[in-house]
Symmetry: C2
Subunit: 298 residues, 2 copies
């Protein structure tokens, strides 16, 4: 039985790291992730570099990597200007994003949710016309840093709109890492009522330690695609110092132990984790990486 | 619906910390844990101080704490000599321990499993005669650092023997933190065939990030008692630098979110976590503690 992992470390991870990471290191990281067997990698973002200076080198990164034919590389695209850059980059997949809560969407995108739909629709139309695959992210599905609880109907609505635009997969995000397995089950069960599980992905953050427990709950509901970040790279913009995305190493370890086939070689994945930890010069949150490096040292 | 938490930080946590912790700080920690609403606290160990010098002050700790009448304090007792110390301490509960794997038992207790049973039986007999409650730990249920996989029948056998001795509850331990939810479900389902779930507890380590996912799986099987350590205190003697017990803060956060009643006040618990982190002078693994301290700072 297969589970797909979407590696978001080079984007969601690195955009939340304060330490500067060189373009060369990003390129090496992506190539190492692919060498470990990851088939889907979110490589960077075409968001305005004014907002995310960490990923201003998106073009250089995508030029530098060794493109593998059985890997789908992707990047975040916020608007038509971003789409211009994506078009020139040679990518075959892009990702759209918006929030399920009004305040987070407004603060993040500077538009209301209603104003965001047509912008995304235009980007999707253009990407689809170019033969690209379009992924969608819904943020704050399990809680908003400003509003607290988010009605499930908001997430259903956004999911529905994204699918209507031609998005092939919607990633449901616990942006601030507040979800617990009970909530994941409840939310996912409601969303899979209108949407096939193959169209959904779980995007969990481990800010409160529940990330893998939430993955296990989503597996129970039938979700088979999960986003994760090498080393648990990144953090939480709403709680600087706290943990961000679930770690790819920890996710692969758990899935291996549960007899899910991810196609990822854990040993090689740990090399990628050790590499980027060394580059950043700080201990990353991945527990499997910690245990591995401790065992190597012992 | 209630879940019981057995706080093992002052014992399982501190016995694995290299940094010296003063007796006064241990006493303060235990009193803070009780103030947060924990009703079961493993306060120390009567293992020979030659082996665990970190807990050589068991008597002083137990003399110093403010005994609360609705809290059960406990300590580890390995043999009749330990039992003498426990008797003098005023405790109403002790805990026995052994492994489900021969090699770990031999290295840890210096006896075969068969040789261990009569020793524990004698301690249990004495404790029960004094009106004490006796808890039992089974180590390496989900994997052994020396033997790898451990047959479930070993754990069933040890569980059965402990219950025969009059133990009221058997805590099934993932000593090296290798378990995944699938294995937890499989092992627990087999063990609950002979043993009522009320007699069992889950003791998970988070060495590979799966700790809370394993708790959620054990909850599904009907387990309602879990061991955890404030701050995620402690570590893994087999992988120095790796994480140890699951964190009490993270456990309480997840259980709260799943509408389980633990009786614990998370705010006060975080005070206890912040206190012992400050004492140790190192960042503890608890993610909820990290997120809390980051939010306080922001």
């Amino acid at each position: 039985m297969k589970v797909q992992i979407v590696e978001v470390g080079p984007r969601d991870g690195l955009q939340n790291e304060k330490e500067h990471v060189s373009t060369a290191a990003k390129i090496q990281l992506i190539d190492k992730l692919v060498a470990a067997g990851l088939h889907r990698v979110e490589a960077s973002s075409f968001v305005n570099p004014k907002w995310i200076p960490q990923l201003a080198d998106a073009e250089e990164v995508l030029k530098g990597i060794t493109w593998s034919s059985d890997v789908t590389y992707s990047a975040l695209v916020p608007n038509v200007r971003g789409m211009e850059r994506a078009k020139a980059s040679g990518l075959t997949e892009i990702a759209l994003f918006m929030s399920a809560s009004e305040t987070h969407n407004k603060k993040n995108i500077n538009k209301t949710m209603e104003e965001t739909f047509p912008v995304l629709r235009e980007v999707a139309r253009e990407a689809l016309a170019l033969g690209m695959r379009v992924r969608g992210y819904v943020s704050t599905v399990f809680g908003c840093p400003y509003e607290g609880a988010v009605p499930i109907d908001n997430s259903r609505r956004v999911t529905h709109e994204l699918l209507e635009m031609g998005v092939f997969e919607v990633s449901l995000g616990d942006t601030i890492g507040v979800a617990t397995p009970k909530q994941v089950r409840e939310v996912m069960e409601k969303i899979v009522k209108d949407t096939a599980t193959e169209r959904l992905a779980g995007h969990f953050h481990d800010t409160r330690g529940t990330g893998l427990a939430n993955v296990a709950a989503a597996l129970d509901v039938g979700i088979r695609t999960f986003d994760s970040s090498i080393g648990g790279l990144g953090g939480c913009p709403y709680a600087p110092g706290a943990a961000g995305n679930i770690s790819t190493e920890d996710l692969v370890y758990m899935l291996n132990g549960m007899d899910w086939d991810t196609g990822v070689n854990l040993e090689r994945l740990l090399e990628a984790g050790a590499f980027i930890q060394e580059e950043l010069g700080r201990e990353l949150p991945s527990k499997v990486l910690k245990a591995h490096l401790a065992a190597v040292k012992a």
